[in-house]
Amino acid sequence: MEPLLEVDQLRVRFRTKGPVKALLEKDEDPFIDGVMGVSFTIHPGQTFGLVGESGSGKTTLARAVMGLVPVQSGAIRFNGKNLIGLKRGQLKPFRRNIALMFQDPAGSLSPRLKIRSILAEPFRIHNMMPDNLPDEIARLLKMVNLSPAMGDLYPHQLSGGQARRVGVARALALSPKLIIADEPTAGLDVSVQGEILNLMARLQDELGVSFLIITHNLAVVRHVSDVAAIMYLGRFLEQGPTQAVFHHMQHPYTQALLSAHASPDPDAVHHRIAITGEIPSLFSRPKGCEFHTRCPRVKDICREQFPKVADRGKAHQYYCHFPLSESVQ
């Protein structure tokens, strides 16, 4: 099947100093890398789960795909067409097909507009006014289980779950092919989290839309995604079908993440692999494999060079010199 989104060796870097200042301070590399050569594909109707700690570059990756941050190198192909290097006007038709859902449910809704006007925004921006706008907005609200009367409220009058559903409705307005959901469950209590995830799953069944879900909640990824990727300091350390990644993990980092996650089964044998410290700063990216500063299986080579990609088949890939399937002394 033709992939919907194909990201190839995507690299995003940010300038930390102006060119003049860098020259004066003899700083030859005044950049930090937010995303370092990431590749993945999303097929139509698929859900791709992207997991990582805070500061791992998940949101930057999403924003790069949306064309909101400049890309250093690599390719982003949507339906086979490369989006990199397109001008604002040329990018606009693609924006209709890729929608973004934000972390902060209420903060992503314009505070002085009524819900009705917020939902009309996508139509106005793309000059695609439906024949009967009020009906269309009522339909969108119903689709996310909200009453059409909510159209008259302001964002601050909604609860977190309601605001999140308005975000889903807005993302759906122009029937996009891909929805990028940045932390769709953040800041919601568990029952509402479930509601939102079920809503997204239902919409996927009904509309055939693909999701790129960005989260640090492993349960969410395990629950909804077909493909999962583990991100650390701007790189994917392991990616593949969710089942493979969760049950036959190869990277010590994946194992550490999973073991840090509480299991609902009290009888489950719990091997807790503790990793210490926190994710290194982008300003002082460790040499070699970025994870070596916290890895329990670290060896000299890890400090020197980043491992080549290894493949277990079925698109399960990982980057580790000493994967879990091999024993180390």
């Binding site: 924003r63 949306m66 909101l68 990018l91 606009k92 924006r95 209709r96 929608a99 973004l100 934000f102 972390q103 902060d104 903060g107 992503s108 809704l109 314009s110 505070p111 002085r112 507009l113 925004e121 996508p122 106005r124 921006i125 793309h126 807005r170």
Partner: protein, 281 residues
């Protein structure tokens, strides 16, 4: 509409605000109905009764050319209110447009506009006025240009800072992600979130503007005689301050009333909108 209702409702608990509002209304009514309130033609000379004291016929006396001071003060309110309205709305408009462009546009535009704001703000108002008058000659337009040029950078800087603070918010990024252009982001999403506090600053700027106009007219570089302006009346009275002080006294009272009125109103409005100072929360 609800917001306006809310403002009036809250104003009831602010005696200073009500006092300010009454003074402001007094000046505005005076300016609007000036032709019906005057007792004499404000420019009619009556040399026989020059420098006369307050009397039943001339409530505030007459000036050195025998003109009725009361009628001149009333007509002068028109100039004051007109200058205030025109300059403050022009400054607000220019400040909003340039400030939003600086705050949302590319870095080079921001630097360029900031340079413009700071350059204009660094001119002393009176010196700037004198320079412009030498070039264009004294007139009401010159006064308006001087005031607008020296006040819009203040609004511009304020708007820029507020725009920058808003531009990073998720609802703005959401708009950009949907493909909204700059006009739409600024007009529909940023503007409504910054005008509120701006209007309060504007209302507190009105007395400042009126005083600048009076000051320029007093110096003779503002409104041309014989047009009655409060500053011109003060200038007329200044020469006779020892013998006939009523001209300068009655010329000064409306300035005091206007300044107090707008300052009280503006300050209590600011207090009402500042959540930290709100008593009812």
């Amino acid at each position: 509409m609800n917001r306006i209702k809310e403002i009036f409702f809250r104003l009831r608990n602010e005696p200073m605000g009500i006092f300010g509002l009454v003074l402001v209304l007094l000046v505005v009514v005076c300016a609007v109905f000036a032709p019906f309130l005057v007792t004499h033609d404000p420019n009619a000379l009556d040399i026989a009764h020059r420098l006369g004291g307050p009397s039943a016929d001339h409530w505030m006396g007459t000036d050195q050319l025998g003109r009725d001071v009361f009628s001149r003060v009333v007509m002068g309110s028109r100039i004051a209110v007109w200058v205030a309205l025109v300059t403050v709305s022009l400054s607000l408009g220019i400040g909003l447009v340039l400030g939003m462009m600086a705050g949302y546009g590319p870095k080079w535009l921001d630097s360029g506009l900031l340079l413009l704001f700071d350059t204009l703000r660094s001119f002393p108002t009176i010196m700037f006025a004198l320079a412009l008058v030498t070039v264009f000659g004294p007139s009401l337009q010159t006064v308006i240009i001087v005031i607008v040029a020296t006040t819009f950078p203040v609004y511009g800087r304020m708007v820029r800072t507020q725009t920058q603070a808003l531009a990073g918010n998720e609802f703005i990024v959401a708009e950009e992600a949907m493909g909204a252009g700059m006009m739409r982001v600024l007009g529909v999403h940023i503007l409504p979130n910054i005008v509120g506090p701006l209007f309060i600053v504007a209302s507190m700027d009105i007395p400042v503007v009126i005083t600048i106009e009076a000051g320029l007219s007093f110096l003779g570089v503002g409104v041309r005689p014989p047009t009655p302006s409060w500053g011109a009346i003060l200038n007329d009275g200044y020469a006779y301050i020892r013998n006939t002080p009523w001209i300068i006294i009655f010329g000064g009272i409306p300035l005091i009333v206007t300044t107090l009125g707008f300052t009280f109103l503006g300050e209590s409005m600011r207090d009402m909108f500042d959540p930290k100072l709100r008593k009812d929360l």
